[in-house]
Every structure is written in structure tokens, then in C-alpha cells.
Amino acid sequence: MQDRLFIEGRLRETARRMRLHAVWVAGWRAMLLGAGLWASTLVAYKLIPFSSHWLSLVAWFWGGLIFLSCLRRGLQPIPLESAARWLDRACKLKECLASALEVSETHRWSTPLWRDARGRLTGIQLDRVMPLTLPIQARYCLPWLLLAAILEWVPAYRSQAYLEEVADQQRIEVAGKKMIEFVRQERQELPPEATSGQESLDALQELGEQLAAGKLNRQQALKEVVSARERIEEASRAWREDPAISRLQQAAKSPLGMVNPSSSKQQNPLESALAAMESATDADPQAMKQLNDQLQSLADTMQQASQSQAGMDAATQQALGDQLSQLAEQAAALGLSSEALQQAMQHLAQAQPSQLLSDLKQAQLDLEKMLALSEALKDFQAQQAAAGQDLAEQLQRGQSLLAEARLQDMIRDLKAPTTDLARRQSILNELKQALQPAGDYGEVAKWLEKAMGELGNGQQLAASDSLEEAAAALESLTQQFEGMDAMMASLGMLGKAQMSLGNQMSWGQSSGPASGFSNGKLPGGGVGTWGQEGGDWAYRDPGARSTDNSGVTRPELEARGLTDRGEATLSEGLIPTQVRGNMQQGRPMASMAIKGLNLRGKSQVNFTEALEAAQSEAANALNQDRVPRAYQDTVRDYFSELE
């Protein structure tokens, strides 16, 4: 029996090794199959343009094939009988083991058979009988792998038409994704009631999804883009012809923009704050700047003197003291506080240069703050001056927000039981005057007229209801105006997409029409004869409003008034060079005739509007850092001095 157990043990060991060998061979067989398939696919890929996803698929299939083949073989148990037969065959045992395994214990020959089998098994070394060498499949696998490795370095052949098609497809998908992202950002800010804008965004969204799906070719995509653009342009044209929208547009185009009633409410606290500062509201900003420059110059002189080894002599000290007192007088003349300067003079007398410098800096800081506050208040005052004083003026100037607020005040007063006859009469008079300018605002005029009639009949509450309807109608118009902005932005996005797809340019290379308001009917950004096609309304640069850099810190771009970064210096390449000319009498100078634009005829652009537009563009350019820093002051000064 022990012989039998020994035989079975060795046969189990043989079966395990056979299974291992089967897994080994199966793996190499799968490797061969996969290598052939991979190399073939690679050859096909180098010649035929198909998606590289197929290569990934084949690679995964290859790996999976090896894994599954090994797994399948590994999970297949090998019976002892098979192991016995294999060993009989391999070691030429003449079926001794198989016979020993089959014979039963009760058989008369079992004992001698088992003994004989054990004796034969003892001398067998499985690792020599069944070594794990590379099977023949490995030999055939090598050429395929080599071919595949070589092919990796061979560039794929792709026709120019195919490459262009691929590039077009990418551009189409990028355009679609940009549209979808743009719509998402626009919808965050646009109110749902602005149907004009919402409809254009819906159209853009639909187009964007269609493009991003990647199922359109270039022609089809262009056709869709042009079609969508025409639809939105048609819709925008209808809105632009609305007289109410024109009024609102006029107000928006002014340098002060849409006057917000809330800004007027900030005026009082600001005025009171400034009134506390000794007549600073009347200070001339130019004089304040000049004073600031003088302070800076004095501080530099002081710095140099204190750092010199000789120190500050009496003459220098006297000169500095004289300059300080002169500056203090100038500050007093401007109505500014000169406390810091007084302290500076004291510290100069006490020969405390560090304190003196500190005082000078403090004086500069105070001066800059005053300057900023002065300019802010001037802006507010300008807004206040531009705001209409009554409902008629506000409607006339297109200041819908102010008009709405005015109506709300009227409604509040009419609903209050304590409103006296004089007030009601003033409201009635105001409504009468506002009736004519309200005619451009759709249903607003109708409701105002109704309110007038009701108020005239003493129906206060009914009149207040009518005024509420009028306010709602006005608000709706304001929202539609905001929607127009989105509509224009959508057109800008479509224009950019059209340029990208039509000219086969990348999205970043293609630029939409210039941003900002402009006049004229010729293409191109700018004013006058360089006006934008399509009338007054220009396309807003898509994505310009959607950029939120509030969280971005850029210390190198801090306002000049808060940190001292020294004088801006031009790079060498920008420093203009002057070459002394050599004029010889009688010799002609080189000349080149350049054809210019024909500027004959009467200008179609109002000068004031052109000026305002130019100033607005300049302000935008300065705010967006599109002007080199060294030229910013010059540009700012130039445009602010235009009258």
C-alpha cells in the first residue's frame, strides 16, 4: 500500500508540473497569436487610417488572451491517469505506471506491479524529464515581436486629405465644447426672463452639442454655424429695431454706463466722509499729483543724504527744511491735511532721518488716498449729474433702472394712505411729462396713461397697480436688453467658430470681431470709417466677461499707489533711437506711395459719440493691461484730455 501511495504522490507531482507546463505553453501560444495579430494590426494602422482605439483594443485582447489562456490551462486539473500515461511514454516505462494505477488492491498482481512501478519512479527526475524550456511557439513569436518593434518607429502613412479631415474634426469638437462652456457661463449671469438672450443661448447650446458629438464634417458644421448665426442675427435685428432697446443702448454706451440707483445712495455717506476731510473734494487732481511727485523727489533726496557717509550737513538740512515748508504750504493751499509734513519738519530739525523718511512716506500715502477718493467722488457726482431728475428725463435718457426706482417711489407713495394732494398732483404732472418719452417703451406708455386716468379720477390704488404694471414692463425691457448682450456674445462665438472652421485655424488663433461699441458700417474695430458692420452693436468678445480673476493674486500688478516699484523702465528694444540724418541738398529721399482710404464726404458719426467710444475703448485697454506699462500714463493722459 505504501508503494501505491508513493506512486500516487509522484504522479500528483507530475500532474502539477504538467499543468504548469501546459500554462507555460498556453501562454506562449497566446503570445504568438497576439503578437501576430498585433503586428498585423500595426501594419494595417500604418497604411490605413483608422482609429487608434483599435490598437488599444488589440493590445487589450492580446493581454486578455494570454491571461485567459493561462487561466484556462491552470484551472484544468490533470488526472493521475494522464500523468501516469505521460510518464510511461516519456520515460519508456512500457505502461507500467498506468497499469499500476489501474490495478485494484485485491488483484493478485497488485503488489509486484506497485513495487515494480515504484522502483521505476524512484530514479526519475521530473525537472529533467519535463524542463520548463522555451517552447517552439516562443521561437516563432520572436519575428512578430521584432516586426512590431520596428513598426513602432515607422511613421504612419496618412494622406493630406485625411490629416486635414482629422484636424477639421478636432476643430469642430473644440468649437462645440467652447460653445457649450460659453453657454454654461452665460446662463449663470443671465436672468431667465431675458428671452432674447435665452433663445440665442439655447440655439448655441444645441449647435454646440451637435458639433461636440463629432458627427458632422467641415461642410456640414459650417452650414450649421452659418444657419445658427443667421437665425440669431435675424432675431437680434428685430430687437435692435425696438425703440426701447435703442434708448437703453444709448444709456449703456455713455461713459457712465447704466446708472444704477444704488450708486446714488452711496453718495451721501461718501460725501459726508469727504466733507470731514478739509475741503478735499475741491482739490485739483493734477495739483495733487504734482505735490505727490515733489514729495517723492524729496524723499529720494532724503534717502540719498542719509545713506551718504558724510551724513546730512547743515546746508542740506536747511534746503530740505525749506522744501518741506514749501510743500506744506502747497498742501494747505489745496485744502489737504499737512500734519504729516509738520511732523516731518520737526523730525528734520531733530536730525531724525528715519523718522523724517517715514513721515514723508505717510504724507505720500495720505495724498494718494485723497486723490483716489477725490476721483471716486467725482465719478459719483458725474453719475448723479447724468442721472435724470424725473421720470421723463430718465426715460428720455434710457435710464431704465432709475425710471423703475422712480416708479416704485410713486407706487409706494400712492399706496400710502397719508399721501397728500400735492404729492398726488406732482405724480400726475410727472406722469404727464413722461408719457411722450414712454412711447418708445412698448406697453409702458399704455400703463402710464391708464395710471394717469385713474389718478385723475382719484383711484390711487388702481393707479398704483397700473404703475406696477408699467414698472414690470420696464423691467422686462431691461432684461431683454441684458439678453441682447448675450445674443451679441453668442454671435461673437459663432463668428469665431465660423472663422476657425472656415479658415481651418485653431480656436485660439481665430479671433472674433472686435469688442466694445463702435459706429459705422465698415468692417473692423474702431470708430468712424473703421466702424463695425451691422450697425451700432458690436460683438462682445466671447469669454471676456466670463473670466473671473477675482481670486488671482498678481503682486507684480498691484496698483502703483500702494507700493513703490520705482520708475518703470523700458526694455532696450523699446527705447527709440535717434539717428542723425544726413540731408544733402538736391538728392531725392526714398519714398513709397501707399494707398490710403478715401475719406471724402460728410462723416456719418457723431463726434461726441465717437469720442466717448474711443475713451471707453482706451479705458478698457488700460484696464485689461493691453497697453505697455511705460505708455499707460501717456495713453491715459491723452484720452482724458480729449474734448
Binding site: W86, R89, C91, A98, S99, R108, W109
Partner: protein
């Protein structure tokens, strides 16, 4: 005696037997092995060969070595069945009375040499073949068993076709082996000449006797056969059957009838003998393959096409052997062995 001892004794006796026979018979090792295999398997042998090759001498020597009674029957066309089995004769007793007494024929011996069996009439052949199958004779109204062990070694001359009565297939099938006696080689012929023309005399000592032979016959039957070896034998037999799904293509082409189940029995038993003579405890594929031709060559019936093309059953069997794999379903991805 244990099995190992029995086997060892058998092997030694077998070797001794061969050696003893070899003192008289030069060469013909395959014939001697085949004959001894048949004897230990309990079967009969049909020897086919031209005259003068020592067939009769072989049988005689065999009988001496096996201590078995021997009788030779020369078959002629006029031989009657009674000449073989015996007949009742009237004999006079001592008291003067006459009675019938059965006179045993030459068949009542252990070892019978039936010379040129194909020259006798079918009737006489059938009397002989009945005895071979039944191991008894019916004569004179009585059935008389033959002595055991009982062997018939029949001969037939392949070139003398005139005046012969070829054995029918059914009766050919009763022979265990058909051994073809070939001409001796040059060296063997020289030895034959030396022994027979130079007054060389050799005596054959008895090695075995009847009971020992019977015991060995029982031992042979006990040799185990593995299932896949048995399956191999069966597939070889089935491959000889034409017009069946298991028939080999060559069988379809050249055979009219294939081997009977008796052929399969013969194959297995003969393989067992061979395993024992090799000192092994089990039958192997080589044993089966070695016994295939002598066991089946006389059991296959060639068709007209085979006869027309001169195809022999040996050629058919060799083809079947070459095209029949040893194992029907090998283990998947069985490793290539490098040998131990």
C-alpha cells in the same frame, strides 16, 4: 510461490526452452517465439513456408523440450477423418471373442504436426479443426477428450497450389498465430550445413512438462492490461473492418472482411505472454504491436482489388499500425518529454 517468483521462473524456463531449441534449430527466432507464445497462450499455430525450412524438426524438437507426446500427420488428398481421429476396429480378445475397439488416431497426442493441412479434403480438415477447437473428438459414437495441453502446429506450402484445398476463413480463424517461415540467412545456412553434414548431433533436454505448461498458461491469463492498452488493441481490430466508421482507409480499399473478436482475444493473450517473457508485470503497447501481424494476418480477407494489386494482409496491417495512434485522445498540451 509468489507472483514474482512465478514470473521469474517462467522467464527463466522460457529462456532455457529457447536455448534448448536453439541447439537444434538454427535461427527462426521469431518462429520459435511465436510458437512458444502460442503454446503458453493455449493456441494453435499455422506455419507457412516452403519445404525444407525445418518446420517438422522444430515441432519435434519442441515436443522433446516440452516433454510432450508428439505425432505427425501428413495430410494428403486421400486422408480420411478416421485417419486422424481414429476409428473402431474389430479386435479379437484373448478369449477369442471379437469386439469393436476404438483405435486412437494420431490426434491423441499433446503436440500434433499437421503437415500440409491444405492438401487434405475439407472433410478431413474439419475433423482436425473440430478437435482443435473443442479439444475433443467424436468418433464411434463417443466423445473422447484430448490430452492437455493440446497443440496443433499445422503447415501449409505457399507455392504448391495445385491439388490443395485452402482452409476456409472460419477455420483459419481458429489458429492462434500464423507464422511465416522464411529462408535462413547466410550465416544461419552455414550453421545448418555445419550441423547437418558434419555428424553434429545434439540432444534436447526436457525443460518443461505438461502440468507446468498448464500452470504457465494460467499465469499468462493473470497479467493485467491497462485500459488504454486494451483500447489500443480494440482500435486496431476495428480498423480492419471495412464499411464501418472505425475502419481504416486501407481496410475500406483492400479488405472484404476484417478480424473477428477472436483476433482481439489472440492479440491480448499473445501480448501478455510477451510481457511475461520480458519479465514485466503488465502489457505494453509494444507487446500489442509485436503480436499484431502473426495474430491477424490470417484473419483478414482481401478483396479482389487487393489480389489484383498484389496487396498482402501484412501490408494492410502495417499500414493500420502506422496510422493508428496509441492513445485515442492525448492530454492537452502534453509536454514534450526529454527522457529520463
Amino acid at each position: 510461490m509468489s507472483v514474482e517468483q512465478s514470473i521469474e521462473a517462467f522467464r527463466q524456463d522460457y529462456q532455457q526452452l529457447k536455448a534448448e531449441i536453439g541447439k537444434v534449430i538454427v535461427g527462426h527466432e521469431a518462429i520459435i517465439d511465436g510458437t512458444l507464445s502460442a503454446i503458453f497462450a493455449g493456441g494453435h499455430v499455422l506455419l507457412e513456408g516452403v519445404p525444407g525450412l525445418g518446420k517438422t524438426l522444430l515441432v519435434r524438437t519442441l515436443s522433446q523440450a516440452l516433454s510432450l507426446s508428439f505425432s505427425r500427420v501428413q495430410f494428403t488428398p486421400d486422408l480420411m477423418p478416421a485417419d486422424i481421429v481414429g476409428t473402431n476396429l474389430v479386435v479379437e480378445r484373448s478369449d477369442g471373442s471379437k469386439a469393436f475397439e476404438f483405435q486412437h488416431g494420431p490426434i491423441f497426442a499433446h503436440l500434433i504436426l499437421a503437415d500440409e493441412i491444405n492438401r487434405a479434403t475439407p472433410k478431413t480438415q474439419s475433423a482436425m479443426l473440430e478437435a482443435m477447437q473443442e479439444r475433443m473428438v467424436t468418433a464411434g459414437g463417443a466423445t473422447r477428450p484430448l490430452d492437455q495441453p493440446f497443440f496443433v502446429l499445422a503447415t501449409q506450402n505457399p507455392i504448391d497450389q495445385e491439388g490443395t484445398y485452402p482452409l476456409p476463413e472460419a477455420q483459419l480463424d481458429r489458429f492462434f498465430f500464423k507464422l511465416v517461415v522464411t529462408y535462413p540467412t547466410k550465416e544461419e545456412l552455414k550453421e545448418v550445413i555445419r550441423r547437418t553434414t558434419e555428424g553434429f548431433e545434439s540432444s534436447v533436454a526436457p525443460i518443461l512438462d505438461g502440468p507446468t505448461i498448464q500452470r504457465y498458461q494460467e499465469l499468462v491469463r493473470q497479467v493485467p492490461v491497462a485500459e488504454h492498452v486494451r483500447d489500443y488493441a480494440v482500435r486496431l481490430i476495428l480498423a480492419t473492418h471495412p464499411d464501418t466508421e472505425n475502419g481504416a482507409p486501407i481496410s475500406q480499399q483492400y479488405l472484404r472482411f476484417g478480424s473477428s473478436p477472436r483476433g482481439a482475444q489472440t492479440l491480448i493473450v499473445a501480448a501478455k505472454v510477451r510481457a511475461l517473457t520480458d519479465g514485466r508485470f503488465n502489457v505494453s503497447f509494444e507487446d500489442i504491436e509485436a503480436c499484431l501481424l502473426p495474430a491477424l494476418r490470417h484473419r483478414l480477407i482481401l478483396n479482389f482489388e487487393a489480389e489484383a494489386e498484389g496487396m498482402t494482409t501484412d501490408q494492410v496491417l502495417e499500414n493500420i499500425l502506422a496510422n493508428t495512434p496509441r492513445e485515442a485522445v492525448r492530454a492537452q498540451a502534453a509536454p514534450q518529454a526529454t527522457g529520463s
